[in-house]
Each structure stands twice: as C-alpha cells, then as structure tokens.
Assembly symmetry: C2
C-alpha cells in the first residue's frame, strides 16, 4: 500500500467514521465541518526530524501524538474548544507501511484525546520526516489572547516548568531510561494540551494567556510585549517535579534556569486577578507590573512606546533582588 492513494485509504479505514460536527471527512478534495456558533480558531505547527525530535527518542506513534498535542496546545492557550485536526505528513522513503500506520495512530491518539476529529491532511514523499498539524477550534464567548494582561494582575502557570527540557536533555545524551529520569522523559514525550484549563480560564476571568513552548522567560516575554507590561517572577515560586534539582545537577544543569528557559512543557501561563477561581487552575508565579520605561521615565504614554517595546520579565530572589538570567530561552529557529 505504499503509494499515496492506498495509504490514504488505509488511513481513512484506521480513523473510522468522523464524529458529530463533521459534514465530510477524509477522502474528498477538502473536509467540511458544520458551522460553529463561535469564531473559528486556527493554528499550525510543524515538527521536523532532526530539528524538533529524533526517531530514536520515542516510538513514532508517541512522536506523532506529541506533534499534534503541541499544535492543540495553541487552542488551549486561546480558551478554544478543539473541533478538528488536519495532518500533513512528509515521509522519507524509509517510512514503511508499518511506520506510516504508527504515525497515523499517534495523530489519531491526540485527536481523540482532545475530542477533535481528524478530518484531513496530506501525504507527500520527502527527504526528511515532518508532521505539520493544523488545528481548528471553536472560540469561547471571550477568547484569551496574549494582549490583555493588566498591571497588578497575578501570573499563574498550570503545571511544572523545565521538566520537559530536562527530559530532552536526558534523551539527547541517550540517558532517558536512567532511574529518576523517566518522569522527565515522559514530560517531553507525552505532553497533554491544557484544553480543559484553557476553557476554564475564560469563565475564571483570566486576562491573558500563552502556552509554554519556548520557555517561560521567552513566552511570558511575548505576553508582556503584546500587553505592553512587564512581569516580576519569584524564583522560589517556579513549580518543578520531584527530584528535578538533583536530576538536573547530575547533568551539570541548573534546575531554575531550565524552569525559566526550557521549552515544550505546553503548560499555560496566564494572568488575571488574584482570585480563588484562577488559583484553582494554576500556581502563582509573580505579578504583572508596569514597564520599566513607563515606570521610571513617566513621560511617554503606553501607546507611544516605540516598537520593540520595553517589556521585561524580571526574576526576583527571596529578598526581592533581581537575578540575572543566563539565556532568555531557546529559539526553535536554529538547527
């Protein structure tokens, strides 16, 4: 079945009948969803072998599920309800039929967990393996964006930080199976998009949200820039897995730096009032404050801020003293 059309037929058989809300599923020129009452939320994410993952790090099914979950995380960050996914696979010649079906099963796993029908996609031959996922969600009555954070808001996160990056460090060193390491490797291999939390944030009164794909410092920086504010983060408040410090130390890494700059946790960082409703969804990390430029200069309106902005993410120790951060996070855009 190694030609495109028999593989599409095998895929369609594997996926089964589309669920409610799907007017037309896999097999025509395009898929059709029944109209939504809410806005249509759209995002695309690509995972490329050698850039975002290596085949040896996990079974293909796990890697494919992970790629789709990473895309779904963007819907979580908007507070949207997942409705559909489309997966474009670029397949090198060494992806045989079994490997192809593993990839299909992994994408279907993620789609099913999220309640988003797998309605279409594309198969192409390629020199390198990649998985490009389009996710389609229905907007909540109010969407969460990056730009709504207010001075005085609390900053929260839905889970531990830096654990996935530590798992990635273990995998990169071929150390993934060692003792305490398994929990960290699982954090990298098996993320879960915080879809329920994202929707709860809408009714809970959150003001802004972003998911942690590139690291807290960097992603919170994007939120601050979009909101024209800055952030104070308390170093002691960074949530970590048990043994995270010891496992990091054994690799010669600093757990706090990983928590600040390590990406791919796919937790949500969100802002809003210091309320019980939001504290039930996330752990508090710090506060939104005015930009230093606005704070200290006091002579230019927020709207007049030069592009590029003065937003800062400041890390404070137990004495409220600023701690220097070695790196702002990792950019995917490097091979």
């Amino acid at each position: 079945m190694s030609d495109e059309f028999s593989r599409i037929a095998a895929l369609a058989a594997r996926i089964g009948r589309p669920g409610r809300g799907v007017t037309l599923g896999i097999g025509d020129d395009a898929a059709i969803l029944a109209p939504f009452a809410g806005g249509i939320v759209l995002s695309v994410d690509t995972a490329i072998e050698g850039v975002h993952f290596r085949r040896g790090w996990a079974p293909l099914r796990t890697l494919a599920r992970r790629a789709v979950m990473a895309a779904l995380s963007d819907l979580a960050a908007m507070g949207a309800a997942p409705r559909a996914t489309l997966v474009a696979l670029a397949l090198p010649a060494d992806i045989d039929d079994d490997a192809f079906l593993e990839l299909v099963d992994g994408t279907a796993d993620a789609a099913r967990e999220a309640g988003a029908a797998l309605v279409g996609g594309n198969l192409a031959s390629a020199g390198e393996l990649s998985i490009t996922t389009t996710v389609v969600g229905e907007a909540s009555a109010r969407s969460l964006t990056r730009s709504g954070a207010q001075i005085g808001d609390a900053i929260y996160v839905t889970g531990v930080l830096g654990a996935a990056a530590l798992g990635l460090a273990l995998l990169s060193r071929g150390d993934g199976d060692a003792g305490d390491g398994a929990a960290f490797v699982a954090r990298w291999c098996e993320p879960t998009a915080r879809l329920d939390e994202g929707r709860a944030l809408v009714s809970g009164g959150a003001t802004a949200c972003i998911d942690v794909s590139d690291g807290l410092a960097q992603d919170l920086g994007h939120l601050c820039t979009a909101s024209r504010v800055s952030a104070d983060i308390e170093l002691a408040a960074l949530p970590m897995l048990a043994h995270q410090r010891e496992v990091a130390r054994a690799l010669g890494l600093d757990a706090a730096t990983l928590a600040l700059t390590g990406g791919e946790d796919y937790e949500l960082i969100f802002t809003g009032p210091a309320s019980a409703a939001l504290a039930a969804i996330g752990m508090r990390l710090g506060s939104i404050v005015a930009d230093r430029g606005v704070n200290e200069g006091g002579d230019h309106a927020a709207n007049a801020r030069p592009s590029g902005g003065a937003s800062e993410v400041r890390i404070l120790d137990a004495h409220g003293q600023r701690v220097a951060l070695a790196a702002r996070g990792f950019a995917h855009f490097q091979r």
Copy 2:
C-alpha cells in the same frame, strides 16, 4: 532578522492588517475568524523542494504563490468561498532574509488573489524547503463532492489539459525559455485556482467535481470511484493549448497522453446535465456511464460492489473505439 520571532514580525508587517472576517490575525497563539453561516471547508497541501519543485525553475515568489494556489484549488473543487490561509514554511539555512520575504510575498500574492486572508502559519528550520498551506473556505449552500456523478451526466473541464505537465517537462530539461515553450512553463508556474468557476458550478447544477492535480485519468478515476460510476472520454475532445502537439513532439512526448495523465493543471473536472449553464463554465469531454461490472453482469446492486470498485475511465477515439492509455497518471508519492 534571521531568528523566528523577528521573521514573524517582518512577515506580519509585510502582510498588513487582516481584512473583514478576521477577528485576530498573525501574532498570537492562534488566529480567529468570525463565524461563517456556511460549513467550514478545510484542506492542506504540501510542496517540497526536490519532490514538487526545484528552486531553479522559477523565482521563490512564484513557487510560493504556486504552492498556495494548489491548496486553494481544493476549495474551488468543493465550490467553497476562500476565507483564510495559513502557511507553514520549513526553511533550510540557505534561505536568507531576502529569500524568506520572497516566499512570504508569494504566499500573500495567492491569498490576495483568492480573497483569503493570510492569518497565520509556522516557521521552522529544516533540511529541505517546504511550503504547507492550510486553506479555509466557507461552504456553499450545496457543496460539490466527488461522489455525486450520475449515469448519463456530461463530463466537463474548465480549461486545457496537459499544458502544465508539458511546461514541467520543459523545466526539467532546462528548456523553459525556448520559443513556444514559455506558455507551457507559465501554465506550470502560474496556476490559478478556479474559484469563481467552482462557485458557479454549484448554482449551475453540477453533480460532482474534482480538480486536476494528478492528471485527468487519475483524478476522474477518483471521482468515478467515489460516485460508483465509470466514464467515457472522447480523445478528440481533450482541450489543449495552441502548439501543444508540436512542442510535445519536439520533446518526444505525446500530447494526448500528457492531456490524459499530466497533473498540476488545477482545472476542475465536473459532471452534470448537458446544459447551457454548465457548458458556459467548461468544455465537454465525455459522459458518465454505468460501471462495466454492473452493466455486463447485471447481478449485483451498486451498493454491493466490492471495495476497490469497478470504476473505469475509458478513452474513446473518433470511431468510439477504446484507446489504451500508457499510464494512469503520475503519483506524487514517488521521489
């Protein structure tokens, strides 16, 4: 600006403000479109360097526009109105900032021509250049699918066939600039999705539709299989560009075979009654007939047809005699 975030900023500036119907454009975790009255039509298509195109064949801007047009063609085939596009670019290290902006401009060209806002996408580093386009359309009151063709329907096509494949043959041989060849190269390089025609087909009473991406014989074969019918095509009715026979012959190719099996014309093949309304949109190629199995055996209901089907696309000469076809078309799924 060669990091991901400054490139996204440059892209957003290049694209400008999103138009009507876009609640949130480029720059957040996801884009948001205002709800549609009609169903949501979704398709994804990938163009990969070395598989679907080579950089030397045309400027990057042209190649990027072409990739997005190919995706939009799937909306045309459904009779959908384009509403949005998202473009995921996988970028090798030798794509510098100028090359990146060429790619952006090409995707924006296609989106603008189609009236579909470019609302999002993804940038990733990669070993090979690829362009994965997600298109989002609004369904017509009645969508065109592959499965509605009826026995007795006429078969039409919106334009010439085989010209793009001939252009590709010229490009592959480094012969693209030669005299009469330019028109064929332009057919390959600069396709236009038949979006207006697709929508006109809905009100015109077409019963089924597919776009020609893999060649008439193969794509009409998919339509016939989905509709559980067969097709008779008249060889003399295949529309071609002026000089198509001579230019093909000079390359040692047969123009009729190219018209039957050459892909990437992105014309629409559609079926429906022999009416003035449909004849105004396309040229007649032949007729939908009963499957040979049903015709000759007469002892099994259409619904009981074994999977795999007995649908056939038969090519008939001027005497109504069947002509053998060397190849059924080309599968992209080969490197």
